[in-house]
Symmetry: C2
Subunit: 465 residues, 2 copies
């Protein structure tokens, strides 16, 4: 969409748009967004989380060396003198910086804020360059797998609560992956880069991933093929038991540790009664460098959803992992604070909720106004101003049209359009009688209410709002 | 504060801090912030506002030529290929861009978000480089001064509601200023730059401002002295009447318009009953280029506040103005949409609320947890996990310690520290009897509750939370 400066202001043409990969949220989108946030925040609070906030940018060096191959997606600020800054890429690294800086060794917090990635946007699939993350993290030295289990319970609660349809939560462990790479003959130096290749398996077929490993990353075909056998495996406790017997894996120390914890995790998830939606999946790798233990990713399953015209491919809606080393990277003495986190990918969830609302008949209000202060005749602006001022001071949500002499019809139409349930009408007669005519928009019923009891009457009639 | 990467990770030293002029919000600060936002948002909703959100950065050219001398404070992003971007400097220009882009000619919206200015921070006075603005704007073609009056009512409601102490709302009109400059002999070309000089009068004495006008900006000493006489004036309706009789000003068309509207504004404010805190002040100029009509600024008055150790000089806490030309600058055909806005400078308000809380005895909770699920003996982790899962599924806000066998004393201490009002204790005997021991932390009273009625019991006992 092109636009030109008003002739009086200047000459040069410019494009009238939001930056690539970003969007505005209008009142309707915001109403949907607030709904989703409400569900997520109430879940986080249900689990006893505190809330924190950090700046949108960090010192560039704070983000350096935390994101592996994704580091190229970081937005840098222009050097205008002073510190070199970058926009945050996620909420996890700022959280770790916050813990180290304030010497906090024990906290359970959530943080909902926008993060920034110079990625190729796919807006219809809910992938943006500016997008919200809803993070819940548990930091501290605790007995194994208890926080890890609660975190998956949280994802299960939120996805169920938002009614996004069927989903599965894939889990794996970086230690199992590393052990697997070791027994497959991947040199230590190649662990992370081979890990990023495996991470692509949810988007591209094994054959492509294999050729990337061999051709681009110089892995031996034999090693690649051995990996190929493992990454096909997924299941539950049965698979864990099977791998604990695996002649090669069972001989590898880290793999054994990981499998032992995975077994414990599944026992706790059984007590939570949510194993039905959990899948231990050896192809799950996660891109980021800083994970050290259990990792997970929640994906919505394709289905014929009567709410949607055509089913939407949204992929992962939540993910996270354990990162026991990250805080230590910021600490002078390298003191570690074990952390486990979950991040809800809210933009993709918005896309679904928006599409669903489009399809549905539901008309969603964008204001909470209880009453419109209207006038029946001309020359009553002063009276309207006096009345609405009384209502505001009493805490009533009230609006009026910004015209000296609005037509009553226009005032009633405004209520129909915006869903305002009540109209308080002042007229000469009402003023004489010390009453206000209260009109119920839905039923068109009208009652005279004594001025002094108007506030109470409005409260009663809108108590459900 | 300095820190070094953990020896295993790397060698180079780096600084562990947030960027200059920014800060983290910990759980306690967030609790205060949420309180202030609650008061502000409920006021905005009381006045029927919708809510929108826009990206944190805009195309650089979108911000160009909107902020006059302040443009140098804009943060630019590094050119990493693609569009040239800048962080938003305020929420007003993005709002105007949003209106023009979506061809919206009529909306009442609020927007609460962070804005960015490469200013000299004065954190103790609540001036940051990243800070929140809480904006409420009314866009549309309406009868004069009705939205302008409501906007000042909103500021009055919010500052009263937050109990920040005594305040005054200074108002003026760009047309009165321009008319004044004209009759004082300021050449048209110098209006805006002289305006920025006048704007400094709240921080520096007239003599300095005068010499800046004459020495730096080449204004004639006579003109400067004539301005000096006017900018000392402040008052109410009386002053407006007096200036309407002023031999010079009354001959100037724009000044006359401005004074006429100012009179009307004061009539409406009288109906709202808030003129007691409004001062028509000819020294009020406001820095920004885009204002075209009534401008205002709300200032807290110094006082001995028993809540504060020493009174805090916070200055302006809200400001705004009418900007009828801004949207037109973004429209292809230069179509104008009259707008009037208010912006609450929340950071300064935080400073006061924080200081006040420090001084007060009040202990502020940072979570909403209703109950801690605890165990009296060892080997009850599974039972705790089962119970807490039941409570979460029933919507109860519940926590547990992430230990296999926590001491009961530690569990009770955790409640004392965090303010959790209830403890649900599982023990072997209780399990046999099918009950849970519910302990009220404040009174240390303990009651056995049948498991099936536990949720209801917790709801009743925490209903005020």
């Amino acid at each position: 969409m092109k636009a030109q400066l008003g002739t009086d202001e200047g000459k040069h043409k410019f494009v009238l748009k939001t930056p690539k990969g970003t969007r505005d949220f209008g009142p309707k989108e915001m109403a949907i967004r607030e709904r989703a946030f409400k569900a997520i925040i109430s879940c986080f609070k249900r689990h006893g989380a505190e809330v924190i906030d950090t700046p949108v940018f960090e010192l560039k060096e704070t983000l350096t060396g935390k994101y592996g191959e994704d580091s190229k997606l970081i937005y840098d600020l222009k050097d205008q003198g002073g510190e070199l800054l970058s926009l945050r890429y996620d909420l996890t690294v700022p959280f770790a910086r916050y813990l180290a800086m304030n010497k906090i060794t024990n906290i359970k917090r959530y943080h909902i804020a926008k993060v920034y990635r110079r990625d190729n946007p796919a807006m219809t699939r809910g992938r943006y360059r500016e997008f919200y993350q809803c993070d819940f993290d548990i930091a501290g030295q605790f007995d194994p797998m208890i926080p890890d289990a609660e975190r998956l319970k949280i994802v299960h609660e939120i996805l169920s609560d938002l009614q996004l349809g069927d989903f599965v939560i894939k889990v794996n462990d970086r230690r199992i992956l590393d052990g697997m790479f070791a027994v497959c003959g991947v040199p230590d130096s190649k662990f992370r880069t081979i890990c990023s290749s495996v991470d692509k398996l949810d988007k591209v077929p094994w054959e492509e991933v294999r050729s990337e490993m061999v051709a681009e990353k110089g892995l031996s075909p034999e090693a690649a093929d051995r990996i190929g056998e493992y990454v096909q495996l997924h299941g539950g406790l049965d698979l864990i038991e099977q791998l604990l017997q695996d002649p090669k894996l069972s001989q590898n120390k880290v793999a054994k540790e990981g499998l032992g914890d995975m077994k414990l995790l599944f026992e706790y998830l059984t007590l939570f009664g949510i194993t039905g939606k959990i899948s231990f999946d050896l192809s799950l790798a996660r891109g980021l460098d800083y994970y050290t233990g259990v990792i997970f990713e929640a994906v919505l399953l394709q289905q014929d959803n009567e709410h949607l015209e055509e089913p939407l491919s949204v992929g992962s809606v939540a993910g996270g992992g354990r990162y026991d080393g990250l805080v230590g990277m910021f600490d002078a003495k390298g003191r570690k604070v074990p952390c486990v986190g979950v991040s809800i990918g809210i933009e993709r969830i918005f896309s679904i909720l928006e599409q669903r609302l489009e399809a549905s008949e539901e008309k969603i209000r964008t204001t909470e106004t209880q009453v419109l202060v209207a006038s029946a005749q001309k020359k009553l602006l002063e009276e309207r101003l006096k009345l609405i001022s009384e209502l505001w001071d009493a805490g009533i949500k009230a609006e009026m049209l910004y015209k000296k002499n609005p037509k009553l019809l226009n005032q009633l139409q405004y209520c129909e359009e915006t869903g305002i349930p009540l109209v308080a009408i002042v007229g000469e007669q009402e003023l004489k009688d010390g009453v206000v005519k209260l009109r119920i928009v839905a039923t068109r019923e009208e009652v005279n209410v004594r001025r002094e009891s108007l506030v109470e009457e409005i409260r009663i009639r809108t108590s459900q709002c």
